[in-house]
Amino acid sequence: MFQLQNVEVEDVLEMKDVCLESNVISIEGQSGSGKSTLLRLLNNLDSPTTGNILFKKQNLTDIPPQQLRKQVVMVPQNPVIFDGDIQDNLLIGHTFSGAVKPKKAKLKEILENLWLDKPLHTKASELSGGEMQRLSLGRVLLLSQAEVYLLDEPSSDLDDRTGSHVMKYFMETAQQQQKQTILVTHDKSITEQFATASLNMDQYSKQIRQEDERE
């Protein structure tokens, strides 16, 4: 759904012509190669220095930022938790956009599937890092307007067993709802299991290219 044309980000990235069409795309590359930067560009948290990014053939600069972010939702590496309890946090996206909130049963079902078996009124600030990460994944799964998920290291705080279960559930749900997932992960098993395409950022990273030339 995304297309990058002559995109350049100062001394970080240079992407001549890249298409991100596949259902589940895994973004790979050394640290510092610009993986997170790419996700931030797609969510319009940053803009490229030059070049165009198209989403469904429309230039990102022509799409109102909030509308884009409702369609292309990002989950950052460090889960963000807002004031209130689990329920408030699950529904915060709906609060922001004014969308109709899903029923409690739906929330409970999601929590159960994410192995986050806690009452909805549990204070969110009392959760562990891994629990917060699962909460922030559950939050975006509830957003029916979303068409693309951008996940930055979604299982970094989870143990292997929980991580693979949670990611399986996430991917299957996204698949069912015909949503695209673009994710950055170091977990090879996730990539092997779910990715339908992969993109290695090393080839686009100015820094890494410079280092290679020096050697």
């Binding site: 319009n44 409702k70 939702v73 990002m74 963000v80 915060i92 922001f96």
Partner: protein, 276 residues
């Protein structure tokens, strides 16, 4: 105001009051605290500034004139605004300073106009005996309030940048994404005024009321002034801080609704503030 039964000091009595400073200096000396210079400087400054203001007030009160009253208010407002700049914890740039000045001037002028013309109904309207001291008090409290608001906004934006960006990622508007920080800054700016209202009369007698009573004013009449001034202060601080915050949060976002503190390629010229 009747000043007949007010006590007048002789110069020797004032001199005796400086004994307090001598005691303070002695304590500091014995304890080995390195504040001696600052104490002397501040005592001297206080004395000189008040003497100067005293003579200026004598002149202004003896020559009531609308332009002089307005000029004095303008000078006080300008000094108060620069004082706010000095009190910020982080270096702020011109674009941000402009907002503070706009909020201070609009907030104070609107509220003072209402206060002087509708509540006090001075005759003549520029009567410096009331206009200047009451205006000064309201400006002073507004200065304190807006300083707190500025500092809490600046720190909040920096400390909670992940939360702000996290909200943007989910499609929140800049206004909603920074709402908790803005609310918090407003709360912190209002807190001293609210605490002052709660403690007033029980924990302490406010300076203006004390002054009026010493000067021979009936306590009940002094209280009437104090109540209306306190309400005027609360109104002015809240409206001024509100104007400021309403303008200031926008400075942290660009036209693409990106949060500029986390943007990678942000040029220094576009930043409202420089964090250390």
């Amino acid at each position: 105001m009747s000043g007949d039964n007010a006590m007048d000091f002789s110069i020797w009595q004032i001199a005796l009051a400086y004994v307090f400073i001598l005691i303070l200096l002695l304590i500091v000396q014995v304890k080995g605290i390195s504040r001696k210079r600052l104490i002397i400087v501040s005592a001297v400054r206080m004395t000189l500034q008040l003497i100067l203001v005293g003579y200026i007030l004598v002149f202004v009160l003896d020559n009531p004139n609308p332009w002089i009253t307005l000029l004095v208010m303008f000078i006080m407002l300008t000094f108060a605004t620069f004082n706010v700049y000095q009190r910020t914890k982080h270096e702020i740039y011109f674009s941000f300073k402009k907002l503070i000045a706009v909020a201070m001037f609009i907030g104070v002028i609107l509220n003072l106009t209402y206060f002087m013309f509708v509540i006090l109904q001075l005759d003549p309207w520029y009567d410096p005996q009331f206009f200047i001291p009451i205006g000064g008090m309201i400006i002073g409290k507004t200065m304190t309030g807006i300083s707190l608001g500025v500092n809490h906004l600046l720190t909040g934006m920096k400390d909670r940048k992940e939360q702000i960006e996290g909200a943007l990622m989910l499609g929140a508007s800049p206004k909603i994404a920074s709402k908790s920080i803005v609310d918090d800054a407003f709360d912190q700016a209002m807190l001293p005024t609210i605490n002052a209202m709660v403690g007033m009369g029980i924990v302490f007698l406010p300076g203006m009321m004390t002054g009026q009573i010493i000067a021979g004013q009936e306590p009940i009449s002094a209280i009437k002034y104090q109540i209306s001034v306190m309400l005027g202060v609360a109104g002015t601080v809240s409206i001024t801080v509100l104007i400021f915050l309403h303008l200031a949060y926008k400075m942290f976002f660009n036209e693409r609704k990106q949060f500029i503190l986390t943007k990678r390629d942000m040029k220094k010229e576009a930043m409202p503030v420089k964090y250390d």
